[in-house]
């Protein structure tokens, strides 16, 4: 099951969805909004997507995982929009007969999701600055919103 959603992700429901007497192992991965990144404090995150392509890429990853591992059931859900600290941005859950398969498949899915699925995260830092996260690109040059903000961010 593949889904993009603006609503909170329900990890319990997804876990139930993949459980089966055909499986001996379930691995659930959750990405959650972390407060501190490289010494900077996040206030909240904003996720944007190119939805049609993101769904196509997620479906391709799901198919690739099912070809590589004996997956009983799998679900991948990514949330979009504003997410507060601690909220779940992404859930990947896989059930397989044996545990190594479930760990390997779940890790493959989240690793590849982060490489190829067109979804972007915008940091809203607690000092008021914002920044699209683009791995490999230098941080945006952005003037501080005010002198007070600039001073505060210098002390971080």
């Amino acid at each position: 099951m593949i889904r993009l959603t603006h609503d909170p992700i329900d990890p319990a429901g997804l876990t139930q969805l993949v459980r089966s007497p055909a499986a001996g192992a379930v691995v659930l991965f959750l990405g959650t909004v972390r407060e501190m990144t490289a010494g900077r404090q996040t206030a909240f995150l904003e996720y944007d997507a190119y939805p049609a392509m993101a769904e196509a890429q997620l479906a391709a990853l799901d198919a690739e995982a099912r070809a590589r591992w004996p997956i009983v059931e799998a679900a991948i859900v990514h949330r979009l929009g504003r997410l507060d600290l601690g909220e779940i941005s992404v859930a990947v859950v896989v059930s397989t007969p044996h545990r190594d398969q479930a760990f390997d498949a779940a890790r493959f899915l989240i690793d590849r999701l982060k490489q190829v699925v067109p979804i972007w995260k915008k940091e809203h830092f607690s000092d008021g600055r914002t920044e699209w996260v683009h791995p490999g690109l230098p941080a945006e040059e952005q003037p501080p919103r005010s002198g007070a903000d600039a001073e505060r961010s210098d002390t971080l």
């Binding site: 997507a49 190119y50 049609a52 196509a56 990514h78 972007w120 699209w132 791995p135 690109l137």
Partner: protein, 81 residues
Amino acid sequence: MIVSVQMFARARDLAATDRVQLALPEGAHAGELKDALAERFPALRPVLPALLVAVNGAYATAETVLFQDAEIACFPPVSGG
């Protein structure tokens, strides 16, 4: 031919638009699309080498041939998860 290009994330902010129509020669490649974008939006130049092009939901290489009714998008490296 006229192609319509969707833009996302920092590319959208730098271009200050989420969609642009560009006139390209018939059979133009994705690499030529990036050059045309840089000409239209000079603010994109610093990030141009990192920008990705997708055609009908699949990643393109510089040599991928574009066509008039393709769904084309251009965006910086992804950061979902």
